[in-house]
């Protein structure tokens, strides 16, 4: 805990940015995998959504929205650009930051898992709206399809959320404590 505060501020900032960007890239690279035990109905956890929630849960709304936007664009890069993921992840970042969980619940694990569950459902709802605007025929079938994957994705993401949240949160808390001292 104390070792980080003993570092030179520039080093601390540099390492902080490396950890932040490195964790985003790690989430991106893990997304196409389907390790046994980590998938349900062929879907894996939405690692990038978990990252956005982990970032935004203790940060101001603007930072949450920008992080969601950037991570959404990155997710577009590895899947398909239309419809864009940036919109849903930006809204997720914004809403998570506005919840201001720390004012009501100090406990972290379960509350973050619940937030990830809710945000996953929210992101899928935004996806359904986006798909309906792209002019796909068969809207009812798209609805049913997305509802199915929304539940599986929400369950998986909320179960695996602590894996991303716990180390990142510890690191950012250390940085924050070191900056304030």
């Amino acid at each position: 805990m104390n070792s980080v505060s003993r570092w030179h501020p520039r080093t601390r900032q540099l390492v902080n940015w490396t950890v932040t960007i490195g964790s985003v890239l790690l989430c991106l690279l893990v997304s196409p995998t389907r390790f046994p035990g980590m998938e349900l109905l062929g879907i894996g956890p939405n690692w990038l959504l978990i990252w956005v929630v982990a970032w935004s849960v203790k940060r101001p709304a603007f930072q949450g929205a920008v992080a969601g936007l950037v991570v959404g664009l990155l997710q577009d890069a590895v899947t398909s650009p239309e419809p864009t993921h940036a919109l849903s992840l930006a809204v997720v970042g914004l809403v998570t930051a506005r919840i201001q969980k720390q004012r009501y619940i100090q406990e972290d694990f379960i509350s973050v898992a619940l937030i990830v569950f809710g945000m996953s459902v929210l992101a899928e709802t935004i996806a359904i709206v986006q798909f309906s605007f792209t002019g796909h025929q068969n809207l009812p079938d798209i609805w049913i399809y997305h509802q199915r994957i929304a539940l599986a994705s929400a369950i998986l993401s909320s179960l695996w959320a602590p894996v991303i949240y716990y180390p990142l949160n510890r690191w950012w808390q250390q940085i924050k404590a070191a900056e304030q001292s």
């Binding site: 997304s31 109905l41 950037v70 990155l74 997710q75 890069a77 590895v78 398909s80 996806a127 068969n138």
Partner: protein, 250 residues
């Protein structure tokens, strides 16, 4: 002027970092993440299955054939069978590609393949596997490519029933199912019929097996609908064959 200066001093670095991050992510998005998938391909290379690993295919008949093969022959015969499949394709430029990743999100049903433009794969190429049609290539980088599966809801292709030649439109439904909407009000179709790509399909050559009819709903409006079980076992595939797209004779 002074207020602008002070605002810039306080938020300048933050703003430029934000702009840098958004700009970088936009660039990656426009290049379809070629850099990212290349890195993924390099990292996942130790985990890629060699062709000698036995596959578990989902079709019951195929499992029966596999069991018989495995009882009598060795894994070496499996590799020869795979190479023999490429030979039968009789298409110049067919590339055998390993599947190194699935979709990076839950909206699209895609595969990431470990072969790319360096091996001759182009956008629009057809992807087949033992079993039937898998999909088509939607984006290519140097050593990787991305396949949009037939089971994705946005995949639409013209199909025909091999037995009665009735035509219809196939749309993906879930990982192993698709839905065909027919053009006729009373199509000649029954469960067990084989579905293949039609000569009028613009994106796929004719005659590729797609699946087998599971059930028919004659009462659906505006046209009868059949549920297809896709013959390529998407969940268990590890290798696919990519062949260049050929134009259907008009």
């Amino acid at each position: 002027m002074f207020t602008v200066n002070r605002w810039w001093e306080r938020y300048g670095i933050q703003m430029s970092l934000v702009l840098l991050a958004v700009g970088g992510a936009w660039t990656l998005r426009q290049t379809q993440g070629a850099a990212l998938t290349e890195v993924y391909q390099v990292i996942s290379r130790p985990f890629q299955v060699g062709p000698v690993k036995p596959e578990r295919l989902g079709d019951a008949r195929t499992v029966e054939l596999q069991t018989r093969l495995q009882e009598v022959e060795s894994q070496n015969i499996k590799l020869k069978e795979l190479l023999g499949y490429v030979g039968q394709a009789k298409v110049k430029g067919a590339v055998v590609a390993p599947i190194i990743g699935r979709s990076a999100d839950q909206w699209w049903q895609q595969f990431t393949l470990g072969r790319g433009s360096a091996q001759g794969i182009k956008e629009g190429d057809i992807v087949n596997a033992p079993g039937g049609l898998v999909g088509r290539i939607v984006s290519v980088s140097n050593n990787t490519s991305r396949v949009l599966l037939v089971s994705d809801p946005s995949s639409q292709l013209g199909v025909t029933i091999s037995r009665s030649r009735n035509m219809g439109f196939l749309r993906g439904d879930s990982r192993s199912r698709a839905v065909v909407q027919f053009f006729d009000k009373v199509p000649d179709v029954k469960p067990g019929d084989v579905i293949a790509t039609s000569p009028y399909s613009q994106m796929f050559p004719a005659g590729l097996p797609v699946g087998r009819v599971e059930s028919v709903d004659m009462k659906k409006t505006p046209a009868p609908v059949a549920v297809i079980e896709l013959s390529a076992p998407m969940d268990y595939l590890e290798w696919v064959v990519v062949s260049p797209k050929t134009e259907n004779p008009k």
